[in-house]
Amino acid sequence: MSLIKIHNLKKVYKMGEEFIYALNDISLEIQKNEFVSIMGPSGSGKTTFLSIVGCLDQATEGEYYLDDILIKNLSKNQLAKIRNQKIGFVFQKFYLLPRLTALENVELPLIYANVPKRERIEKAKFYLSLVGLESRMHHFPNQLSGGQQQRVAIARALVNQAPIILADEPTGNLDTKTSNDIMELFVRLHRENHITIILVTHERDIAKFSKRIIYFQDGKILKEKRV
């Protein structure tokens, strides 16, 4: 059974009189427990694709099924619930809330899921230790290194037991060694926790950690490679 099913997906922006196809007729299936990389030059539509898969953005045309639910005509709040329950985001710039500690940042999705306080803290601590940051949980983001911040973000993505992690250039702001550490963490989560991971990157070295690489160009799928 496919976790993600996409048919003829299009995303069109209107710039003045011109229509720009950010995504032009994408069809794709991703199974449970896959580790997929999406590569392509900037402007190829890979980030737009990830936003639509993550229910942050809506397609102009085409169908997208997530867990057999048609993500179309869903209300804002239904989309919010899907983001909360099924999807964990990891961004290039981490996007942690600066006024909250690592622990509080990880708790955030649980707050919106109405999880009681005690359980929230327990879970957040568990996932922080899973990414190896149990000793830093009361630190604020600006007291953490880039790699540590990204680990907090990963813990936040995992904390609601979301089956999918969407990572948009997760190593873009990190040095090579830290990048490799983060990628190894992803590989481990994929292998040990059976998380489906979709990773957007433009670095070949990063993409090679995954088992399936999809190349985007001009809003279309150029080719696909399985490792």
């Binding site: 936003s51 993550g54 942050l56 953005d57 804002k76 709040n77 919010a80 619930k81 983001r83 909360n84 329950q85 985001f89 961004f91 996007y95 942690l96 809330l97 006024r99 955030l108 999705p109 707050i111 919106y112 899921a113 109405n114 936040r156 609601n160």
Partner: protein, 407 residues
């Protein structure tokens, strides 16, 4: 959930302390001025009420005179045209008059042992105490028996007690007025100054019969210096005044083209008018102060809108991890309400301080009303909700992907 949102809101208020303070300054000024204005208004109202009750309610005063003789017009009270019978007739003939009294008076020297004092000595009837709403500190008023037998008894005011007796108990002591001995039978409760600024407690009351016989022999029999009329109610004051004029003109056989030989002063009405105008003033000041509350609310809305724009990215992040429009809306709404509550608490403190300062330092009587505190607290909550709603709504409308990309 709600506790966490309150914590988030408090956090964002505290991180911009100066800005939050300036934001709520409007609310602070609004609330404190509502409280101060209402307090001062209440103080003025109480002051007037005290004056009304000190002269007696629904009171009309009739003074003799205002007659002209050979083209020269004399002031009111210069000729003693009023009589005790006039007072009795008014009470009998007008349905709007509850009671009447009168006074024959003069300032005389009073002696007790080696002390002496000059005070207004009034000869009057027993209705006088009721009409002027006097109360006793000690002893008793004189009664009808005292009047019938012309007893030499006196009821004295507190100023007289202070000046003649000091700390001594005056009851049953003998004072001398015009060298004649009078027994003190009662001491009046203190009333303070009249609306015209006279010391109402500097007075000695004696039965009018005694006064006529022993003190004011030079005055024509039964002539009085003033008649006091108590109308049945506030609404009867005007009718009573009309009746007084009709009855007295008839009794004094005044022709149609002649002027009154008395003048009628409706003090209660005058004071009530003052009270009404002070009430209107209080209301107006309160209303103006409330407008400043609304202006304060607009200040909150302004800053909340800025805050929403500033925190677009934060909103995007929250939405990305699953915050619904409701979560975002409630977060900003609570922040606005919290801001206005903080402002109104500061405003209440400032208002109380201001009212106390006006009371103690400027002697501008101010009575802080609990109602005005509750109302302004309630009003600022509403201001917070109303003016917080639009920014909160705007925040919740943000598109998650655009909010995230906002730099």
């Amino acid at each position: 959930m709600i506790l966490i949102i309150i914590k988030i809101a408090l956090d964002s208020i505290l991180i911009h302390k100066l800005r939050s303070f300036l934001t709520v300054l409007g609310i602070i000024i609004g609330v404190s001025s509502v409280i101060i204005m209402v307090a001062i208004g209440n103080g003025a109202k109480l002051e007037i009420e005290k004056q009304i009750s000190s002269i007696g309610s629904n009171l009309i005063i009739i003074l003799p005179g205002a007659t002209s003789s050979g083209g020269v017009r004399f002031g009111a009270g210069t000729q003693m045209t009023l009589t005790i019978q006039d007072a009795e007739a008014l009470k009998k003939e007008s349905p709007y008059i509850e009671d009447t009294s009168f006074s024959i008076h003069e300032v005389l020297q009073i002696v007790y042992k080696n002390m002496n004092w000059s005070s207004l000595v009034r000869g009057t009837n027993t209705s006088f105490f009721r009409i002027q709403e006097w109360e006793l500190e000690r002893g008793r008023f004189f009664n009808e028996d005292d009047i019938k037998s012309g007893n030499r008894v006196a009821v004295i005011g507190s100023t007289v007690v202070k000046n003649l007796f000091g700390l001594e108990d005056p009851i049953d002591k003998t004072i001398r007025i015009k060298k004649l001995p009078f027994k003190v039978i009662g001491v009046l409760k203190e009333k303070g100054t009249s609306p015209r600024g006279e010391d109402q407690d500097d007075v000695i009351l004696v039965p009018y019969t005694t006064a006529q016989r022993n003190l004011f022999g030079n005055v024509l029999l039964d002539r009085v210096r003033v008649i006091y009329v108590k109308a049945r109610s506030f609404n009867d004051l005007f009718l009573a005044e009309n009746d007084i004029k009709l009855i007295l003109r008839q009794r004094h056989k005044i022709q149609k083209n002649q002027e009154d030989d008395f003048s009628v002063r409706n003090i209660t009405q005058f004071l009530q008018a003052r009270q009404e105008s002070s009430r209107v003033m209080t209301f107006l000041l309160g209303a103006i102060a409330s407008i400043s509350l609304i202006v304060g609310g607009i200040g909150i809305m302004n800053i909340m809108l800025v805050s929403v724009t500033e925190r677009t990215k934060e909103i995007g992040i929250r939405m990305a991890v699953g915050a619904t429009t409701y979560h975002i809306q409630i977060q900003f709404l609570i922040e606005a309400i919290l801001l206005s509550i903080v402002g109104s608490i500061l405003g209440i403190l400032l208002g109380i301080a201001g009212a106390l300062i006006s009371d103690i330092v400027f002697h501008f009587k101010a009575i802080i009303s609990f109602d005005s505190i509750i109302i302004s607290l309630f009003l600022t909550m509403i201001v917070g909700v109303v003016f917080g709603f639009y920014p909160a709504y705007k925040a919740s409308l943000l598109d998650p992907i655009e909010a995230l990309r906002y730099e």
